[in-house]
């Protein structure tokens, strides 16, 4: 039969997999991370000290959370350019609620509601209005940062709260609480994407929206849901951000936007949708954080850091070239 060539055994042997270039490509971010770790450790032994690992993990927490949200959006072939602005708005909402004396729990809720609303607005406009994700989220990027400025009157609010301080400084061994939260989010995201009906529908919407519709999946509802997830996670990121810097600021946070997309793509998720992974983007986020940390530890000049980041991103992407 002509077809037998395709009917491969269901489980390829691990040894065979290791020889397959496609296998390495799927784990490009991991390969890149390991290479970086080896290089940095060789050049500066403090890199793998417990203290430095702990601070890298904490520094990565917010980016991991945003990347998980971004992954859901990108898996539906969308992109959330407003993710960092939504976080800013969430942080400002937190600050306003807190300074009005609403207490920690309500302030956290305010952050999540504010950021979540940005997500809902994105989702509804994209799904109902049938406009390209890129331009809608570009619009809400601008609108959300404007709202943050208006709400806060452009001023940061200093937040001094014992519980928040513990959140940002305490932890389990080398795992700071914020990293623990990020890890829980990643695990939940993985389960949601690969072990529920909703996750399958997300992938189907991204892979072939028309086919998904023909099978009775409401791609509109899926779109609204993923943007809401992305917004809510931005709100969670906002809480961690406020805890981390001890203030709620209307700052732009643009770096978080580009880094969240870079983490997802380095994690092997296609921007064309339909394929997803949570562990990939998480490793992608760790890679980006480790890179900057290592370069700083090595005392690489500030001027050479962007160049190094650019080169590593392209090299890691070259690895993913062999995917599929």
């Amino acid at each position: 039969m002509a077809n037998t060539a395709i009917a491969a055994p269901e489980r390829e042997a691990w040894t065979a997999r290791l020889k397959d270039v496609g296998f390495w490509a799927e784990w490009a971010a991991l390969v890149g991370l390991i290479v970086l770790v080896i290089v940095f450790q060789a050049l500066n032994p403090t890199f793998l000290s417990a203290g430095n690992i702990a601070s890298m993990l904490v520094a990565a927490a917010i980016l991991i959370i945003l990347s998980v949200g971004q992954t859901f959006v990108i898996a539906t072939a969308g992109i959330d350019l407003s993710i960092a602005s939504a976080m800013t708005l969430g942080a400002v909402a937190f600050g306003q609620a807190y300074s009005m004396g609403m207490g920690l729990a309500l302030s956290c809720l305010a952050a999540i509601v504010a950021s979540g609303l940005v997500g809902v607005v994105n989702g509804v406009i994209i799904a109902r209005g049938k406009i390209t994700d890129f331009i809608v989220t570009l619009g809400t990027l601008s609108a959300a940062s404007g709202l943050a400025l208006i709400l806060s009157d452009g001023k940061p609010v200093t937040i001094i709260d014992a519980a928040l301080l513990r959140l940002s400084t305490g932890g389990l061994g080398i795992f700071g609480w914020s990293f623990v939260i990020a890890a829980v989010v990643a695990v939940l995201g993985h389960v949601l994407l690969f072990h529920t009906r909703f996750g399958t529908h997300v992938l189907a919407t991204g892979g072939a929206a028309e086919s998904a519709t023909a099978m009775g999946i409401s791609t509109q509802r899926v779109k609204i849901a993923v943007y809401t997830i992305s917004g809510v996670l931005a709100g969670l990121g906002a809480i961690l951000l406020v805890a981390r810097i001890g203030a709620a600021e209307p700052a732009a946070n643009t770096a978080f936007l580009l880094n969240s997309v870079a983490a997802v793509v380095l994690g092997g998720v296609s921007l064309f949708g339909g394929r997803g992974s949570i562990i990939g983007p998480v490793i992608g986020a760790l890679l980006l954080i480790a890179l900057v940390n290592g370069l700083t530890l090595l005392g690489v000049s500030q001027f050479y850091q962007p160049l190094a980041v650019g080169i590593v991103v392209v090299l890691a992407a070259l690895l993913t070239r062999f995917q599929r």
């Binding site: 077809n3 009906r197 996750g199 399958t200 992938l203 086919s211 099978m215 009775g216 999946i217 339909g274």
Partner: protein, 248 residues
């Protein structure tokens, strides 16, 4: 037309200024294979999409199993027992065979309010579906992207046939298939009928239509221009209806 499973009465649908369906009336008897033929662009696929809930007719009624239906989504149609093999197959290339087979029909195990996919069960059932239908498809865990055109068509047919549906609609199921594959699909269609399913078959292959169907409806330029019992007609008459050579 008293005893019919599906009946379309004066169904019309326009896209902008393209009148894709104009007062189409036809009916399907239960347990039969009904064929629908017509030129390219005659409106066959559009009619199918109306019945399977993708489009809603501008005018007219569709009666399924004695009840007038008004599907708001393909999901409604599937729930009512209408499965469709679309002309474009409606597969998601990046998902696996089993995921496609169970798309929007996923089996879940619930823990309280939360339901997780039952991957094992779906894979086992998928293997079964695939082997019962005896079509040569590859491992259920491989992505559809890796399948050849014929294999894809087989998966789409499996999906439609695998669930206990009342009506199975197949829009040109053998267009891209080789002789052997075509023979298998034809066997499957006959088997579906023998198991009591009603089948609506769209095909440009008149020999196939004459071989399989009990009833033929002919569409031309958005209209249904006639219906014949297959046993009472012949290829030439159908061709003349399709081309409009026959007076109506």
């Amino acid at each position: 037309m008293t005893n019919s499973l599906l009946e379309c009465r004066n169904v019309s649908l326009s896209f902008g200024n393209v009148r894709a369906l104009a007062d189409v009336s036809l009916s399907l008897r239960p347990g039969e294979i009904t064929a629908l033929v017509g030129d390219n662009g005659a409106g066959k696929s559009t009619l199918v999409r109306c019945v399977s809930g993708i489009h809603r007719p501008d005018n007219g009624h569709i009666v399924f199993d004695g009840q007038e239906i008004d599907f708001h989504s393909p999901d409604d149609a599937r729930k009512a027992g209408i499965e469709t093999v679309h002309q474009n197959l409606a597969l998601v290339e990046d998902l696996t065979v089993w995921q496609n087979l169970f798309l929007n029909r996923e089996l879940v195990r619930g823990f309280g309010p939360i339901a997780f996919l039952d991957r094992r069960a779906m894979q086992a059932r998928a293997r079964e579906m695939v082997s019962t239908l005896a079509v040569n498809v590859p491992a259920v865990k491989s992505r559809v992207r890796r399948l050849s055109g014929g294999q894809r068509q087989a998966v789409a047919i499996c999906r439609a046939a695998g669930f206990s549906s009342r009506l199975v609609i197949m829009d040109e199921p053998t267009a891209a298939l080789g002789v052997q594959e075509t023979a298998r699909v034809e066997e499957l269609i006959l088997r579906l009928r023998d198991e009591g399913h009603t089948v609506l078959l769209i095909s440009h292959n008149f020999a196939q239509v004459m071989r399989l169907s009990d009833q033929v409806w002919v569409m031309r330029a958005g209209r249904c221009v006639g219906g014949r019992r297959t046993s009472e007609t012949n290829g030439e008459e159908i061709v003349s209806l399709v081309t409009g050579a026959a007076g109506q």
